[in-house]
């Protein structure tokens, strides 16, 4: 039997920052908020897609695809919540929506679920957290990460490896043997899906998937990399959840777009709390978790301060 672990939420309960009754109330699930949120979110996606459509054939199509891409990459936010089953009360809806989001942003859902479990167990621990984004050592490294080139390279290598029926040692650590075939099948299906889309483009001379989906996805990804860096990068590479994770106070439209993923420290504390209850959990955990009041830009200012020598001891991966 594994040694009992002290999860962050048990720690927070022990520290008396919230009561069991409060936690249980926050964990209550409902399909309604997510269905409304999803409908509005898809309308936003439709609106930015319309911008692309209206600007086709002009140079404006590029800024329009970038704006649309910023929305497209936030399919990740929905998928992330879905792998925690904190979007819908109905469990299978989380699976369904999670798989669809994963198809859109080329992130196989089952694999991400397993990988993300280890991210929660070993948050920000160098060599153990499979999702850790290393603290850049130079401005060049910082910009290179944001460019998304290393991200896509890693993702495509991962997809190819899984489709070929191979896993790395690290992946074997968090994917149980019984699930290896599922991970391989998932990668193959994803590749087959994308191959069919590209084939349809060529055969029917139908390029809409490129203009409305794939080019925006690649154009928007640097924004997602910029945001993902604000969750842990620049925070100490230690086990203490009060220190190793950052919540970012961002505007209401941004919170809508990212499904409250900015309340990242709160999410790590209690990953069973639905996304819509995170602002309430934030009120409870005030003063207990690390909050960046100046939002994503404030977080990047902190990262750059460390980068340029403002005390990066223990923060590097």
């Amino acid at each position: 039997m594994t040694e009992p672990v002290l999860t962050p939420i048990t720690q927070a309960l022990n520290d008396g920052v919230l009561t069991r009754a409060e936690l249980k109330a926050l964990m209550r699930r409902s399909d309604r908020p997510a269905l409304i949120h999803l409908a509005l979110w898809l309308m936003l996606l439709g609106a930015t897609g319309t911008l692309v459509w209206a600007s086709l054939g002009t140079l404006w199509v590029w800024p329009a695809m970038f704006v649309h891409g910023i929305v497209v990459v936030h399919f990740f936010s929905i998928q992330h919540e879905c792998v925690h089953y904190t979007v819908f009360r109905t469990r299978w809806l989380n699976d369904l929506v999670g798989y669809i989001c994963g198809l859109v942003i080329i992130l196989p859902n089952r694999f991400f679920r397993y990988e993300h479990c280890d991210h929660h167990t070993y948050t920000q621990l160098t060599g153990e957290d499979p999702e850790q984004i290393p603290m850049p050592k130079t401005l060049g490294e910082y910009l290179w990460y944001i460019s998304s080139v290393p991200y896509w390279r890693a993702k495509f290598q991962e997809l190819g490896r899984h489709a070929a029926g191979r896993l790395t040692e690290v992946e074997r650590g968090f994917i149980p043997k019984e699930e290896h075939h599922t991970i391989f099948l998932e990668a193959r299906l994803m590749l087959a899906f994308y191959a069919s889309i590209l084939l349809a483009c060529v055969v029917f001379d139908w390029w809409a998937p490129l203009w409305f989906w794939l080019i925006p996805l690649f154009l928007g990804e640097p924004v997602m990399r910029f945001i993902r860096m604000t969750e842990h990068v620049g925070r100490p590479a230690i086990r203490d959840m009060k220190e190793n994770t950052r919540s970012n106070m961002v505007s209401a439209p941004m919170r809508f777009l990212c499904w409250n993923m900015n309340y990242h420290a709160e999410h790590h504390y209690a990953s069973s709390v639905p996304y819509h209850a995170l602002p309430r959990l934030h009120d409870k955990l005030k003063g207990y978790v690390h909050v960046e009041e100046e939002g994503y830009l404030g977080a990047h200012r902190e990262i750059l301060r460390h980068l340029f020598g403002g005390g990066s001891e223990g923060r590097r991966a």
Binding site: P4, T7, I9, R29, Y85, T121, S271, S272
Partner: protein, 105 residues
């Protein structure tokens, strides 16, 4: 030689978190008492995947969701029903007698 199991008082039904899961310690054992829609059941409190305390998880009256990775167990049978949980929970036979939850231990 192992001694016979006996029914042991665990917690008063009135002290349970109604419709939810309540943490109870019995000697050195950490237990989870579930007030399920079909009666009271008891298991060891630690998740069989990563040993998180299930008492801090989300309980819907039938299934307990682990607070760390959201693995899922049937709180009536202990069966693991969703990844990453795979190994069943160890259940302890329980009954309610005179307003008291008892376990056969």
């Amino acid at each position: 030689m192992s001694r016979d199991k006996v029914w042991t008082d665990l917690i008063a039904v009135s002290a349970l978190e109604s419709g939810d899961v309540t943490p109870v310690t019995l000697g050195h054992r950490e237990l989870a008492v579930y007030d399920t829609l079909e009666g009271v059941t008891v298991s060891y409190a630690r998740c069989t995947h990563g040993a998180a305390n299930l008492c801090d998880g989300y309980f819907d009256g039938r299934r307990i969701e682990c607070p760390l990775h959201q693995g899922l167990f049937d709180a009536r049978t202990g069966q693991a029903v969703a990844a990453p949980a795979r190994v069943a929970l160890r259940m302890i036979e329980a009954r309610v007698q005179d307003g008291m939850v008892q376990v056969l231990i």
